[in-house]
């Protein structure tokens, strides 16, 4: 399915979707076709890191992945979905309350996904309570908080306090991300690390979770 992989990587939307239909129609399993998409996404991620692709390409690839998944979904068995779960670990991400910047968070999420983490994205302007509740229920290994406004520091800190109060702080690593984060902010919030680029956290995730 190299032609499908190529179409994904080159972001040729129509061609990729046509090929997806063709392969599924020809009897390829949903899982195989999905893997072609994943390979394509991995290459797109690599091109982003290499500064060959930029945010516009990531947004388009996100849209393509979405459209492709819709086509593939009916062909995926329950066993396929379960198999997908033996990932490196789980990361819960959100842009904190009061802030709606999501480009950086989405990139970080995409990179973590490509690196083999299961990512749950709660969206933007997410109340502290929602993040802490979700951390309780879903039990992620990493909580990634994005915020680009200086007013995001306090909500980030409240999430960390919420995690402590819920007895979860020792069980999760907290990463804060966004252009306005640095070591001062990291300390203020009580996070484990800060990330002003999307790969930092992948590297850390691999370090934290790789050994387990």
């Amino acid at each position: 399915m190299q032609d499908l992989i190529n179409a994904v990587v080159e972001l040729m939307e129509e061609e990729a979707l046509e090929l997806t239909k063709k392969y599924l129609g020809d009897g390829k399993s949903g899982k195989e076709v999905f893997e072609a998409y994943q390979k394509g996404m991995a290459e797109i991620g690599a091109r982003f890191e290499a500064k060959e692709y930029f945010v516009p390409e990531l947004i388009l690839s996100g849209e393509l992945m979405q459209a492709g998944s819709e086509l593939i979904k009916p062909y995926l068995s329950a066993a396929d979905s379960a198999a997908d779960e033996k990932k490196l670990g789980k990361a819960l991400i959100a842009t904190v309350e009061g802030d709606i910047h999501d480009i950086g968070k989405n990139i970080a999420g995409m990179m973590m996904d490509i690196a083999g983490l299961e990512v749950k994205d709660l969206g933007v302007d997410v109340p502290t309570k929602t993040i802490v509740e979700e951390a309780k229920n879903w039990q992620p290994n990493i909580v990634g908080l994005s915020g680009l406004l200086t007013l995001a520091y306090d909500p980030m800190r409240e999430v960390v306090e919420g995690l402590k109060a819920a007895g979860l702080r020792d069980k999760v690593k907290v990463i804060v991300g966004g252009g306005q984060t640095d070591e001062h902010v990291c300390k203020y919030v009580g996070a484990d690390i800060f990330a002003t680029d999307a790969m930092v956290n992948v590297t850390y995730a691999q370090k934290w979770l790789g050994g387990k």
Binding site: E52, V55, L149, T150, L151, Y153, Q180, V185, Y188
Partner: protein, 414 residues
């Protein structure tokens, strides 16, 4: 007794020296206060947004306390609560309208121009503005969407009966709304002028006399949205190019007109969408830089001083940005590497920035002094530098702002 006119001249010269890459008497210091002065004087943001007296008093108190080298006049883009209400304005959430009383207003991204509307915009921008854009961004003018186009109202053969549209009660109401907006505008602008006079009496020249944008940014921020325009770059690049070309003279005109009216030649140009990760270098060189470069050259030719705030990280763009006339403008750094900027603009342009505002919000006064020292040691040199933060100080703690101003005052002399 303080000689305020002497103070004014000194400040003016200090800034001009820095811009011209000469050595001033000391490092000029200007920061963008956002709503910090309200907090300093114990007002909520909502109070100053709606009460011009409170706003003037708070801003005067800020300037008297810190003595920055240029004054921030907040009325046009901060003291406009009553006007936003008249418009039922959709591009912002603000205190009392979707936000708590003490939160600074926030931009709401909207796709006010659909992809299929590029041609309308390019063909007749004014018609698009009146019949499509205004009705969408100002909910109280929604009825203008029903207006017919007026380009065929030509003399007696075609042109006498267009106004019949105004019989529509909703359109009539919208027209009355424009009248009410006019009254609010006049009040706000008058408050701004009064404060400007007061600043002048106290020896503070204004921070800027106009605001404009790179055409690509205007198209992205206000018409297509960040993601919408990024996708357009691939799906309909020709339309993007045509729209930017359409906007270029508009962005130049607005800057020339406002600086002429205000008498202050400084033009503030915040850059939003050219960060390193937002487009490839070749896209930047095609869709972004040519119009911005032309804008800067035209402004400079007309004796205006562009003050360009590079938002985010633009390290890969510095090589293009340095192609501007020498000693005529200011590049304000936020997240880009200030060492690289210093190198790139050496002998070319004044660099402004970029104390990390994170330290002002979350650090201690000692942390602040340490960061100030780092920045001053690196940048003070022989001039060509203006001390500023990377982003506005709206959320900074008062004691940290005190520490910052004190440090620069103590160590700023050349």
């Amino acid at each position: 007794m303080t000689d305020y006119s002497k103070l004014y001249d000194e400040r003016q010269k200090r800034f001009e020296d820095a811009v011209a890459l000469r050595k001033p008497d000391r490092v000029p210091m200007i920061v963008m206060p956002e709503y910090f002065p309200a907090r300093l004087s114990g007002y909520s943001i909502k109070e100053v947004m709606y009460n011009p007296e409170a706003m003037s008093q708070a801003w005067l108190a800020y300037h008297e306390k810190y003595q920055p080298d240029r004054a921030d006049n907040p009325f046009r883009i901060r003291g406009f609560g009553s006007l936003l209400e008249v418009y039922d304005f959709q591009h912002l959430k603000w205190a009392g309208h979707g936000l708590p009383d003490n939160m600074a207003y926030q931009f709401v991204e909207l796709e006010l121009m659909k992809p299929e509307e590029y041609d309308h915009f390019i063909h007749d921008m004014t018609d698009f503005m009146i019949r499509r854009y205004w009705p969408r961004v100002n909910k109280s003018l929604a009825a203008f969407e029903k207006l017919p186009p007026f380009n065929s109202e030509i003399s007696y053969l075609f042109g006498l009966y267009g106004p019949v549209a105004f019989l529509d009660p909703e359109i009539r109401k919208a027209v009355e709304t424009v009248g009410r907006a006019a009254e609010e505008c006049a009040k706000i602008l008058a408050s701004g002028r009064a404060l400007g006079m007061k600043y002048k009496e106290l020896g503070f020249p204004p921070s800027s006399g106009a605001l404009t944008q790179a055409p690509f940014d205007t198209l992205s921020d206000f018409f297509r949205g960040t993601k919408g325009l990024m996708v357009d770059l691939r799906r309909r690049p020709d339309k993007v190019m045509a729209a930017c070309e359409k906007l270029m003279p508009v962005m130049l005109e607005v800057a020339l007109r406002s600086t002429k009216a205000s008498g202050c030649p400084i033009v503030f140009i915040p850059l939003h969408k050219c960060m390193d990760t937002f487009m490839s270098q070749s896209q930047f060189e095609k869709f972004y830089w040519p119009h911005l470069q032309q804008l800067l050259q035209e402004l400079i030719k007309n004796d205006r001083i562009p003050w360009v705030l590079m938002e985010g990280v633009c390290n890969d763009r510095l090589n293009s940005f340095r192609n501007v006339p020498e000693g005529k403008m200011v590049w304000h750094i936020e997240g880009s590497d200030i060492r690289k900027a210093k190198e790139a603009f050496k002998g070319v342009a004044c660099v402004r920035g970029n104390l990390p505002v994170s330290v002002l919000v979350t650090g201690t006064p000692d942390d602040v002094r340490a960061e100030c020292k780092k920045l001053m040691d690196l940048m003070k040199d022989d001039g060509g530098f203006i001390f500023d933060t990377g982003v506005n100080i709206g959320d900074a703690s008062i004691e940290n702002v005190d520490a910052m101003y004190e440090y620069v005052r103590e160590h700023g002399a050349y």
